[in-house]
């Protein structure tokens, strides 16, 4: 084999390859390399600095017997279920309402979507203020005469997730609505004409024709929202800092604290590995449905 055709092949498209160097470095070094590094070091006893002294599954044993981690997982699960169901259901309903050829559609959409432009920190701080027990919503309702009214989620461990959800839903529902609205607009007008000719009522058409047709939109939204929920961090930091007590801890907070505050790197990496695993559980079935089917088909 002469080296000439080989060199020629390497030099083909050389500018494109040079231009793609940042992408190649990012994917190989940061995304793939970084992930592998973290997973490997999660099996070491690293404290302040990374050291390759393997300890097997010790870090994971410690993780799953740590009550703070268990609370974090439980919180994330409940928050995740409610946030997913509500954002998607409410987002879809709002999209349907906006899709009724109404006036001022742009105005309504602008209002429903603006929280999405704000950061979780801003969102969290505003809602922290609204839910302030002495001066916020509770005080206003009491001031109107209902003196026994109690709504103090941020200082009640059992209700703290409700407070987080109120803020999280306020911020994120508009985004889901927008995607759903785009999905509804993508549906052929003829479907509507056909169902009208057949005398099928509007809500039945939505339920039995439109929603099944929008399945890919729902799945994509689900994956995006779910992947975002697993990263939940800023909102909790701003609203409760994990309190009261440990009642609103989430995994991302655990990772940060062990990695950068408690100087227990191995433990932080083990926790982040679990986060990765949970994303993969969401992602792999989706990728399989989305791309796996097509290749064979």
């Amino acid at each position: 084999m002469s080296s000439k055709p080989m060199r020629k092949r390497m030099l083909r498209n050389v500018n494109a390859k040079i231009a793609a160097i940042p992408m190649i470095i990012t994917t190989l070094v940061v995304f793939v390399g970084g992930t592998i590094w973290s997973v490997v070091y999660a099996f070491t006893g690293s404290k302040l600095l990374p050291k390759l002294k393997f300890v097997g599954f010790d870090q994971f044993d410690r993780l799953w017997s740590n009550s703070r981690w268990m609370v974090s997982i439980e919180n994330l699960m409940w928050y995740g279920i409610f946030a997913l169901v509500f954002t998607i259901a409410v987002g879809f309903l709002l999209a349907v309402l906006l899709d009724q050829k109404i006036r001022f559609e742009d105005t309504f959409r602008t209002i429903l979507l603006y929280p999405f432009a704000l950061s979780f920190i801003v969102t969290g701080l505003v809602w922290q203020w609204l839910l302030n027990p002495e001066l916020g919503i509770q005080a206003v309702v009491r001031g109107m005469g209902w003196t026994s009214f109690t709504f103090d989620p941020l200082y009640t461990p059992e209700l703290v997730l409700v407070g987080l959800l109120m803020a999280g839903l306020w911020q994120g529902t508009g985004f889901v609505m927008c995607i759903m609205l785009a999905g509804l607009r993508g549906i052929d007008e003829d479907i509507w004409k056909a169902s009208r000719v057949d005398g099928i009522s509007k809500w039945k058409t939505y339920l039995f024709v439109v929603i099944p047709m929008m399945r890919p939109v729902f799945i994509t939204t689900l994956v995006i929202v779910a992947a975002g929920i697993i990263k939940l961090y800023d909102l909790v930091v701003a609203m409760t800092s994990g309190g009261p007590g440990n009642s609103s801890q989430v995994p991302a907070m655990y990772v940060y604290d062990y990695m950068f505050q408690a100087q227990n790197l191995g433990q932080g990496l083990a926790a982040s590995t679990m986060m990765l695993l949970s994303v993969l559980i969401v992602l792999i079935p989706w990728a399989y449905l989305e791309f796996g089917g097509k290749k064979r088909g």
Partner: protein, 300 residues
């Protein structure tokens, strides 16, 4: 044909709807209520920031101020304290600007060239890298934080603004590359081929044809990046030092600091100041913002 239209002499067009039908009242009623829920936090934020502390302690958070004062805004901007620094949010604002401008330019430059190469100059393995890139955008950042700390430390830019700029460029790459790739794939291929025949190369076609043709998508990318980077908190905390904290981090430190008497009006003014940049972008950009988030949602 004339007969056919003549026979249809009855009323034509859709049945006119009454403006105040039951359907409309329910429809607009629900939308108005929901809108109220969405507007209230912004309303409360602005109103609180314009009141004095005595009025806040006495009154109703939803009520507009009796006496408007801009002092909380001045204080939040120039003298609110975080730890030992008492120079207000202005420090965080300028840090955020210094992070924002190079990050936006760098990330868009890289991603637009990527998208262009992925469409018009496919090379062996280019699709593989793109797939990894997209999957990478779903992976929780937490798993890559520490390796990036090490990389930045090796490069000698850990804890500097440039380190953070680099991190933003890396994590902005997946969504932006997707955005540009999808856009460039809709540019007719004949245009590209014609330019090739005329002897234009990789960069020539990019700068003379692709770039001028795709200004709207660049605007979408700028909107996406400005709001995304401005709102970032995690990377700011991890990759910079207290003096260089971006605005969101400083805001959180001001409002959630435990020392001292809580000044809710200053807190809300500070929150409003931090939210102002993305809000202005949002209200000014209108449909382009929607296009940006739709691009993120639509699979490539």
């Amino acid at each position: 044909m004339a007969d056919a239209t003549a026979n249809l002499s009855g009323p034509r067009g859709p049945k006119p709807r009454k403006a105040l039908s039951r359907r409309n009242i329910i429809l607009y009623g629900i939308l108005a209520l929901v809108s109220l829920y969405y507007i209230l936090p912004l309303w409360v934020m602005v109103m609180t920031s314009l009141k004095g502390m005595p009025e806040i302690r006495m009154g109703n958070i939803f009520a507009p101020p009796v006496e408007i004062t801009f002092e909380p805004w001045v204080k939040a901007w120039s003298s609110a304290c975080t730890g030992l620094n008492c120079d207000g949010l202005s420090r965080g604002f300028w840090n955020s600007i210094q992070i924002l401008i190079p990050s936006v330019i760098l990330s868009i430059a890289i991603a637009s060239v990527n998208g262009y190469a992925l469409i018009n100059w496919k090379f062996k393995g280019s699709e593989v890298f793109f797939t990894i890139l997209i999957f990478g955008s779903f992976i929780p950042y937490q798993i890559m934080l520490y390796p990036i700390v090490i990389l930045l430390r090796e490069m000698g830019i850990y804890g500097t603004l440039w380190g953070l700029v680099l991190v933003h460029s890396v994590f902005g790459m997946p969504i932006l590359t997707l955005l540009f790739r999808n856009y460039f794939s809709s540019v007719p291929e004949e245009l590209f081929k014609a330019a090739r025949v005329d002897g234009a190369g990789f960069w020539g076609i990019y700068f003379r044809i692709m770039l001028p043709m795709s200004l709207p998508i660049f605007v979408v990318a700028v909107i996406l990046q400005v709001t995304g980077i401005w709102n970032d908190f995690l990377f700011g905390v991890v990759f910079t030092k207290p003096d260089l904290y971006p605005m969101t981090v400083q805001l959180n430190n001001i409002v959630n600091s435990v020392q001292g008497v809580k000044e809710y009006n200053v807190n809300m003014a500070a929150t409003m100041l931090t939210g102002l940049v993305p809000l202005i972008i949002y209200f000014a950009s209108g449909k382009l913002f929607v296009r940006g988030i739709a691009a993120g949602a639509v699979k490539g």
